[in-house]
Amino acid sequence: MTALSESPVETAVDGLVLTVDSVHIRHQVDGREVVKGVGFELAPGRVVGIVGESGSGKTLTCRAVLGILPPLFEVAAGAIHVAGKDVAALSRAELTELRGSTISAVFQDPASYLNPSIPVGPQVAEVIRVKKGAKRREARRRATELLAAVHLRDPELVYTQYPHELSGGMLQRVLIAAAIAAEPRVLIADEATTALDVTVQAEILDLLADLRDSTGLAIVLVSHDLAVVAQLCDEVLVMREGEVVEQGPTEQVLHNPRHDYTRLLVAEHEQYGLDRFLEES
């Protein structure tokens, strides 16, 4: 992990890299509130998890944080601060500057975020050239380092390969490499492991944990699976129909769930999952 140079940790006064303060998101036309008050804080090297079904508002929350809400949706109330800066107060250019360099994201379907007709290496190098102003040769060297940093075997070879030559897990690693290329403070992983095999999912989660440990990256991990979130997170939010029904330290949410919905999620794993056997042993 030495490949990733440690960026000096400059934070807001209170040491938080991301604060989301009771954010409400509303549809502009029908006035429907799709997210009803989400709030959490994230310090460097910490991981917060958001759990919920599709349509629970978890993805919209992430998009609001990134300043890329889909058309007709707006933040109706609350505030989002990324590294001390109020996202709502930023101009479009400043937001673009913020994304990638301070906060970045990976999503569910990695293949759709890569250009199929260009090898993956230059696509990572492009991020470095745009965000860090690096020269071509320097960008290539740095991109290869990043591909190694996300545990891709033979990064020199992967650099020259096209997206269709790589598996889903490898593509997700490439995207993570691109996402951390400009050394952001916060990484949002929205269902980033959902489409992957179990062993590959574990590899990606392990990679995120490594990045957190080695660079102090703060992570927002979004998943429909409580167990995935449990692997990595310090704090968990359980969302349902736009509302946060449960929020607290991971241990507390897993072992002492208060809301019925959280209990259902926990019970499902205990009844049908591996937990049933692991508890006995």
Partner: protein
């Protein structure tokens, strides 16, 4: 009583130079009333195994016996006869795509019966009865698939598989497309089938999703069944390194079964033995 007995099954895809081995001598047998989980990840050959058991791909070696009938060398016509008896049924992962969008739920449900030669009037009665069996209202008979929720659709798909009173149902990740509440509901329905003596072959990439329901678990790795045992044995005392990795990778609510370092070591071990499993 064995409903499916597969011995040393080999399946190849493609011709000559592009010939690729999808199954490399996989063996598995399933008894009546048993729920078996077949675990395998992308490229393990799990879909090929199911397709071979349904006669959709031709094995290049090995033997398949379904309910006492050796179907290994069956031609298309013989397969059609086997299928029409409805001994083996299949449930797809995504019920929205496995139900014809233009046919009513009733028509989709009755299709296997009509193919079997059951008179239409009797087929309608049976469709109604089986809809009840998966706890759905029979007013759904005249609806189209798009008017049903995901959980309802998957229950219709299960009813469609049950309607010919099969000995074996093969299910491909039947609950992974559903949300938590309906997932439990569908799993409960499937669990109840055991008492009716129907065998279930649950195919999944995630051991965690079948461990709670399966009596036995088989792990498929690079075209071979590398481990078979009761769910408890496999989960608590895995013998093959790949199984250990699978269990160590499965997300659980407790701290993961294997630590990061242990997983990394297992990956290294499997990677070094590339091409020759075990």
């Amino acid at each position: 009583m064995t409903v499916l007995d597969v011995r040393d099954l080999e399946v190849h895809y493609g011709h000559r130079r592009q010939r690729r081995r999808a199954l490399a001598g996989a063996s598995l047998s399933i008894d009546a009333g048993e729920i078996v989980g077949l675990i395998g990840e992308t490229g393990s050959g799990k879909s090929t195994f199911a397709r071979a058991a349904l006669g959709l791909v031709r094995p290049s070696a090995g033997r398949i016996v379904i309910d006492g009938e050796d179907v290994t060398g069956h031609r298309e016509r013989q397969w059609r006869a086997v299928r029409r008896r409805g001994v083996v049924q299949y449930v797809f992962q995504d019920p929205l795509r496995s139900l014809d969008p233009d046919l009513t739920i009733g028509d989709s449900l009755m299709e296997p019966l009509l193919l079997k030669g059951v008179p239409r009037r009797e087929a309608v009665d049976r469709a109604r009865a089986y809809l009840g069996r998966v706890r759905l209202d029979d007013e759904l008979l005249t609806r189209l698939p798009e008017q049903l929720s995901g959980g309802q659709r998957q229950r219709v798909a299960v009813a469609r598989a049950l309607i010919t009173e099969p000995r074996l149902i093969i299910l491909d990740e039947p609950v992974s497309a559903l949300d938590a509440a309906t997932r439990v509901q569908v799993l409960e329905i499937l669990k109840d089938l055991r008492t009716a003596g129907i065998a279930l072959l649950f195919i999944s990439h995630d051991l965690g999703s079948v461990a709670g329901i399966a009596d036995r678990v088989a792990v498929l790795y690079r075209g071979e069944v590398v481990e078979v045992g009761t769910a408890r044995e496999v989960v608590t005392k895995p013998s093959h390194p790949y199984t250990r990795l699978l269990i160590g990778s499965a997300p659980t609510l407790r701290t993961a079964a294997a630590g990061r370092a242990e997983r990394a070591a297992l990956r290294e071990l499997l990677h070094s033995g590339k091409g020759t499993p075990r």
